[in-house]
Amino acid sequence: MKKYNLYMTLTILISMSIWGCNPLKLDEIDDPNNPSVGSVSNNASRQQIQFVLTGLEARHRGYVTNVSQAWNTFGREIWYLNGSDPRFQTDWLGQNGRVPDRSYFGFGNTGGGSYAAPYQAINQANVLIRAANNTTFLNDSEKRAVAGFAKMIQGYQFMIPANFVYNNGIRIDVEDPLNPGPFVPYAQAMDHVRNILVEADADFNAAGTGNFPLALTSGFSGFNTIAGLRQVNNAILARANAYRQDWQGVLTALNSSFMNLNGPLNIGPAHPYVGPPDAFNPLFYVPNAPTTTIIVVHPSVLEDALPNDNRRTKFFQRNTPVTVSTDAGVLTGTHQDARWPSNTTSIPFIKNEELILLKAEAHANLDQFADAVAAINIIRNAAGIGPYTGATSRAALIDEILFQRRYSLWAEPWGHRWIDARRYDRLNQIPTNFDGGTIFTQFPHPQAELSWDQYTGN
């Protein structure tokens, strides 16, 4: 009996301990690391909207590293020498007959920084617009201001995939992530960019005056009013209209932009990089860094530069050149990028100098040569190379403007030369004799796009 008492006691104790904390009951475990996307979809607080808005600024610069390194390589503004991974040379320069495929090095299956990243910014903007529209914590004009900002960024970002895949076309209807619309041709995509920027302008117009209602980073300092952002929006529209060859549209947009013929050329909004917890400026390299991984100035840029052009200060001659060997041979860089005084310098994404050059280009294409030359001379005089003395034909002026753009907009995070040469059907003028590579025209749709259409049966 004594034993049985012991068993009973034990059994009771054990069952109590089991059922006291029922081992079969599981707690609900929420994501311990992040809020959910759903948390901002319904009546988000002002602070939550602010976080999503700043998130949009973060997504807005997602393209910078990839586009700066790759597109500027395609246009032979730079070489990205990379001792650790030779494919930055061999593949991006199209050496040994390499041509872009659907999962090309540096772009992956999604197109990476040149395709997926800009669309992430576009999606972020859509989430922001919805969050702002679905809250009671913003008034109507504040909602319009947020929508204007979001659409402005969308207009800018749509141009990146559009120019990456060019004639292959892009999707412009991307409101529903699981049901994206069809691919539309380049011209239609650029029309969409224009339309969205025009909508942004209307939103800003209805957003009242004064300061933008939420905090923007220092990248927008000088532009963080409703009026200032509207000028930025029109600057972006001017660039888009140039790609659309709507030359009158360029001039109209420039008139509402922050273009200032007498002001500093480098003024404009920028992507800030202030260091941890933020990122560092990805284009900064320590002068004379003892490294084999560095962006160097393409030899053709050095060769073609005019002797007294003070834009040459963008190029810093190293004490020792950088040499990297690959299975396609050896490349040597003598100059590095000197535009960034430190690794916390902001990177402008559109600036007054470009706007003046767009003005020149629009006038030239409209055969308003005197206005074109006047604009060109603003740039030339600033560069210290004296007024334009060449022919005043459209062809000659376009030559001149494209040349000035090479140095004024050298290696900006946009790949200007690659796009410009393609716009004017001059890709064959980009030299390949320094690296034996090929000049790409455009990229195919990334593999993931193909796979998605296959998955959905489109």
């Binding site: 054990i14 690391n33 998130g55 001792g83 992530p177 941890p276 860094a289 084999t292 299975d327």
Partner: protein, 989 residues
């Protein structure tokens, strides 16, 4: 398994004490070893199908009272021997029993359920067991998983590289998951231990990328292999179904040694050894002709190189960095003993092993106490406690990006005429790459210190006993707490650091994991006529908590490794996870006189990882084994055992943590915090990937079981395999996890083992294992894609229906192949074979060795790619086809620009282990030391002794991405695998 065995003995004794006043007669006898004639102390004598029995005394003699007057069958058994049955009666009541050694492990007890075990001869599955003798008896292996190479049919074991401190992946029966690493569940004395590859942050600091390129160790490295009594490997769902959700990739059950009743034994063992690289490849010599070919004239580069060549020394950097002799030391002290009530096994271990690269090494300190105590005659408590500290310095090898913080990566680019060695403490800048690896090796730190405590308990309570049945409760559980402190440090004076705006890089990590598990089961053993029934029911609870915090500091005060001494401080990672799981199980075993043995069982599991945390998923199993030789009609003199068997089971693989969430991720910009929409969309309907396996085979014992044959065929199908569905990137989101894919693994496992010679002074045991697996993606469910490694240009992997996911594809494009690239290879081996031998001479001398052969299976050898780029591959400047273009610029196949150039056959034969031991005769020891010493054993051994391969790398078994289901065969400048040679001495007091 000794534990379970001892328990049986104890039970038997217990039941003896129950007095029976009915009619009875007495049986006496003696049990001896058939080969040596020595008495078998402690041999078990049991009346079949009852709980009545006894054990043999010190002289091997036993006396047993048999109740009733009828004849009964006595089962006489002893650990390591084949049991025998004898019919006794009142007239036939004196037995002379000579037991044969169980060369083919038929008698071994194998854990098959959460609370039950069965002897191997009755087993319906091909469960591999590795005894401590096989595991560590030949040589000293640093980590437990490293000691399993070639010992488990069906296992593919692969190491990251040769860095000290482990880093091994085990895949059982192919690939069970596309997204995880497809690693088996590891259970140590009942505890679900953490075997993850933890982050060290090396890849973040060196720029290599994600943490899967850290070359971190998996945490099985913490376990002292010498503590292990046995390892059982449930290779697939048919054997592992009762483990439910986490058993898709198999289960490895590790049981540590326990104390035995008797005199307290103290044993001290010391190994001293050294290690050198198993294989080096040599570097290419340079000439002026080669320099003229290699370097361009532009910017005077060629002249500079020629001048360096004319003035410089010649240095073989492979030799300089890798070819060092490392000291290895391993000290083990064990104290075991106990009395009838309490038994203990206490062990301490100090492993101190250097690496062959300077300033690398692995130190492990382990203390273990395993205690068994009988609280009363019917309540038994077992506890196992293990504290471990491991300290690992793995150095800088493998992939890197722009930092030069990898020896192999960097020296691939340095010609042998340029001297990187320091002069008066000053390291010259490396003009060929981003850093000087000599400076890195001598000054940088890659350290991980683990403090870990593993505790388990089991409580067995006999609730009910009758003459032929018992009811027992088993309550078991435990915890595994692990803290890993890591440090990666690149001092500010390094070349790569001077090239950065904030020189000096420090990444300090703290990771904690806490696993706990609890299990309660009722086991009822009863008899239904001649059928012995074992019924079990129980529940299981698992909890896993992980947290990590990594902080990085850049711009360091010289020589300082405190984050506060950094100009730029950042939180690099802060991640927490919590997982809860619960399950219920039922199992019924039936054994008809060891002739027909059947099992059915089911487990239901739920988990907070699943989209629906409260849904139970069911995992049934059933198995049947028929011992034909135990039937009366069977009377072959050659075949002693013949057992066809068949087993079916289902398991699952867990959903990864976080798959159900669509988060807003923190993103800092310009001093503000932003919330960005994650590019992964969570799937709130995700559920575990499930596997079904049908396994059948036959086991046979021939010539008095001197020869054993085990043949198994299995078909393992997995469904609902989780993989990322790529969304349209234009949607602004990239992936969502999906349950679409299906995999099939089919394979054969053969084992032949036997005692070839069995004389009293010469015994030769030999075992051959053969296994092959074929994996096929039977359904993809989402569009064909390629993934893994470094993209199509350097070889990647094809995920397409009808193809193995181990298929290596790459440039150039081939529109006829799904996915659009040319097929260049397959990572999956054609087959594996291993050959284990142990030879005993005159009882004192023992030689054993293990040879491992893998046929087929390709690697992506990017080390060759790097050395070819840098012109340093041995033979680079030779020109085999005489066309003026050196080999290094013209790797086949033509036109010498495709991915196939780096896909290489990784077949090999390795002499894995050799050991030779001499045990001094006891009388001699007694004479010399007068009783102070009982036993002396000395020996010499070697690990990774020889490698035969055409593969052009340090080791065909390498993985720069660590443990992964696919893409675990990529070779990037790994730490060369060492050859380890040891001298051993063991003293028993």
């Amino acid at each position: 398994m000794r534990k379970a065995y001892k328990l049986t003995a104890v039970l038997a004794l217990l039941f003896l004490s129950v007095g029976w006043s009915y009619a009875q007669y007495t049986v006496t006898g003696i049990v001896t070893d058939a080969r040596t004639g020595e008495p078998l102390i402690g041999a078990n004598v049991l009346i079949r199908n009852t709980t009545t029995g006894t054990v043999a005394n010190l002289d091997g003699r036993f006396t047993l009272n048999v109740p009733g007057n009828n004849e009964v069958v006595l089962v006489i058994s002893s650990l390591g021997y084949l049991s025998q049955n004898f019919t006794v009666s009142q007239s036939n009541n004196n037995l002379q029993v000579a037991l044969r050694e169980d060369a083919t492990n038929l008698e071994e007890v194998v854990v098959t359920g959460l609370a039950s075990s069965v002897k191997r001869s009755n087993l319906a599955n091909a469960v591999s067991s590795v005894s401590s003798r096989e595991l560590t008896g030949t040589t000293t292996i640093q980590t437990t998983d490293g000691a399993l190479y070639g010992k488990i049919a069906g296992a593919t074991i692969r190491s990251n590289g040769g860095a000290p401190g482990g880093g091994l992946s085990i895949q059982l029966r192919g690939i069970s998951s596309l997204s995880g690493a497809s690693q088996p569940l590891i259970i140590l004395d009942g505890v679900y231990i953490n075997n993850s590859f933890q982050r060290t942050g090396r890849a973040a600091v060196t720029g290599a990328g994600a943490s899967n390129q850290d070359d971190g160790s998996n945490r099985l490295a913490d376990l002292n292999p010498a503590d292990i009594e046995t390892i059982e490997v449930l290779k697939g769902p048919s054997a592992a179904a009762i483990y439910g959700t986490r058993a898709n990739a198999g289960v490895i059950i590790i049981t540590t040694k326990r104390g035995a009743e008797g005199k307290t034994k103290v044993s001290l063992a010391q190994d001293i050894g050294f290690a050198q690289p198993l294989r080096l490849l040599g570097v290419d010599d340079w000439s002026e002709e080669k320099i003229n070919f290699f370097f361009p004239e532009a910017n005077n580069r060629r002249q500079i190189e020629l001048q360096r060549f004319r003035e410089g020394n010649r240095i073989d950097y492979e030799d300089y960095f890798y070819n060092n002799t490392a000291l290895l030391s391993n000290t083990r002290l064990t104290v075991t003993g106990g009395n009838e009530k309490t038994k203990f096994f206490v062990s301490g271990n100090i492993t101190s092993e250097d690496g062959t690269v300077r300033r690398t090494g692995f130190d492990r300190y382990s203390i273990r106490a395993n205690i068994d105590h009988k609280i009363s005659n019917s309540i038994r408590l077992g506890v196992s406690s293990n504290y471990i500290q491991s300290n690992t310095d793995r150095g800088f090898t493998g992939n890197q990006n722009n930092t030069g913080a990898s020896i192999g990566y960097t020296i691939a680019y340095v010609p042998n005429y340029f001297d990187l060695r320091p002069v008066n403490g000053i390291y010259p800048d490396n003009p060929y790459f981003n850093d000087n690896p000599a400076a890195i090796t001598d000054n940088a730190i890659n350290n991980s210190e683990v403090n870990r405590f593993v505790q388990s308990f089991t409580l067995d309570i006999d609730l009910l006993k009758t003459n032929n049945s018992f009811l027992k409760a088993n309550i078991a559980g435990g915890l595994d707490f692990l803290q890993n402190s890591t440090m990666i440090y690149l001092p500010e004076f390094l070349q790569s650091q001077r090239a950065s705006a904030n020189p000096g890089d420090l990444l300090i990590g703290k990771q904690e994991s806490f696993n706990s598990n609890f299990q309660a089961a009722l086991v009822y053993n009863w008899n239904l006529g001649q059928v012995n029934m074992n019924s079990q029911a129980g529940l299981v609870r698992l909890d896993f908590k992980n947290s990590s915090l990594f902080n990085r500091g850049r711009g360091l005060v010289p020589g300082q490794t405190n984050l506060r001494q950094a100009a730029v401080q950042e939180i690099n990672e802060n991640f927490n996870s919590e997982i809860q799981e619960a399950g219920v199980f039922l199992q019924q075993e039936a054994n008809w006189e060891d002739k027909v043995i059947g099992t059915v069982g089911v487990r239901w599991d739920k988990s907070t990882l699943n989209g629906n945390a409260n849904q139970f998923y069911a995992f049934p199993r059933a198995s049947l084994a028929v011992n034909i030789a135990n039937f009366d009609f069977f009377n072959s003199t050659v075949v002693n055992q013949l057992k066809p068997r068949i087993a079916y089971g289902e398991t699952a693989g867990p959903v990864a943590f976080g798959n159900i969430y669509t988060p807003l991720i923190g993103a800092n910009i310009g001093g503000l915090l932003g919330s960005v929409v994650s590019s992964q969309v969570g799937n709130e309907r995700i559920f575990p990937e499930t596997a079904t396996e049908l396994e059948f085979g036959v086991d046979a014992g021939l010539f008095n079981n001197r020869l054993g044959i085990e043949a198994t065929y299995y078909i393992k199908n997995t469904q609902n395999n989780i993989q990322n569905l790529n969304l349209s990137p234009a949607a602004g989101v990239n992936t969502t996890p999906s349950n679409e894919a299906e995999l099939q693994n089919k394979g054969i496992e053969l084992g032949i083992s036997g005692t070839i010679v069995d004389k009293s002074d010469f015994r030769w045991f030999s075992r051959v294992l053969y296994w092959r697996n074929r994996v096929n993606l039977t359904r993809l469910g989402i569009p064909t894609y390629t993934a893994g490694a470094f993209g199509s240009g350097l070889g990647t992997f094809l995920y397409a229906q009808g193809f193995p996911p181990t298929t290596i594809v790459g440039t150039p494009a081939d529109p006829n192949v799904p996915g659009g690239f040319t097929i260049w290879g397959d990572a999956q081996p054609d087959f594996n074979m291993s050959f284990y031998n142990t030879i005993s001479l005159k009882k004192n001398l023992e030689l054993s060795f293990l040879v491992d052969w893998r046929q087929g299976g390709d690697n992506i050898n990017l080390t060759s790619f790097l050395t070819d780029s840098g012109g340093t591959t041995n033979g680079w400047f030779n020109d085999d086809n005489g066309d003026g273009i050196p080999n290094g610029r013209q790797r086949p196949p033509a036109p010498h620009n495709n991915a196939a150039r780096w896909v290489q056959d990784a077949s090999f034969v390795k002499v894995r282990e050799i050991g030779l031991y001499y045990t001094f005769p006891r009388t001699q020891v007694a004479n010399m030391f007068g009783g102070a010493l009982e036993n002396i054993k000395i020996g010499a051994s070697a690990n990774n002794v020889f490698l035969f391969t055409k593969y052009e790398g340090y080791d065909p078994e390498t993985s720069t991405f660590g443990a992964q289901s696919v893409a675990n065969n990529v070779d990037i400048a790994p730490y060369p695998t060492p050859r380890r040679i040891f001298f051993h001495i063991t003293l028993d007091f």
